[in-house]
Point group: C2
Chain length 152, copies 2
């Protein structure tokens, strides 16, 4: 799926996606046109979804994050989903099996904002909210290695 060089390139880019082709080339021992070609193919294959920038929500004033479990009332599923998508403070939302239909992450600047935003869903769904106290693991990609499972 990925060869060793691809993995090394990705690992470097995960740390700094603005690394120049020349640097990448040096670090993996290829020429820069080869690296350019490999990156192009990784994008084509969809392995690289995007080169992007990770922004610190705190630095923007979002001092609070919450995980919200959302159970739409009967018949309200689509309205609720649309609402969630439209509220930009939802930074992530997964539709899951089980009682809770959605699990979402909410960025807010204050408890007041949290309350205001949840109020906009309150008449269409039951929610339960857990405030995030710490982030032992911040978003990271899955292991790149081809092997089956994390070292046992």
């Amino acid at each position: 799926m990925l060869d060793d060089l691809d993995r090394r390139l990705l690992e470097i880019l995960i740390k700094d996606s603005r690394t120049s082709l020349k640097d990448l080339a040096q670090q993996v021992g290829l020429s820069s046109p080869s690296v350019a070609e490999r990156l192009r193919r990784l994008e084509d294959r969809g392995v690289i979804r995007a080169f992007t920038v990770e922004i610190d929500p705190q630095a923007l004033g979002y001092t609070l994050q919450a995980i919200v479990r959302i159970r739409p009332l009967p018949g309200k599923l689509h309205i609720v989903q649309k609402l969630i998508e439209e509220i930009a403070e939802f930074g992530e939302c997964d539709k899951v099996t089980g009682d809770d239909c959605f699990v979402a992450r909410l960025f807010v600047r204050s408890i007041g904002d949290l309350d205001k935003l949840l109020d906009r869903i309150a008449d269409k769904a039951e929610t339960s909210t857990a405030i995030i106290k710490a982030q032992p693991i911040r978003r990271r990609p899955p292991p790149l290695a081809a092997t089956a499972i994390s070292n046992p």
Copy 2:
């Protein structure tokens, strides 16, 4: 906090962090040294946490994702946290208020792997797992605007 130019730069970089300084400069109407300087400051201030690459777990064979709520048994909190951090398939973990101590995201290649990984925690914590069926919102940053709250 951020001025309009900063916001525009960030928006461009969120879409493609490899955009050249020259392009950035053109798009916001500055010279490229000024843009370089602004980016440097955004990094210094911690607004930009990293330039990185978004990888598609599916393209790597991780066809399954799950949200796992984890409630360590009495006295096991730290051991459990350490264990979670060490298992690379955990792609995210938040420590939250409420009964569930941790909420984590797990990337796996099969239901079998899911079971194997959860087994490694099973004797130290209660877990409840929800399989992700769809992702209405994939990871996105909070709104960059300085205004209080999403359009009401």
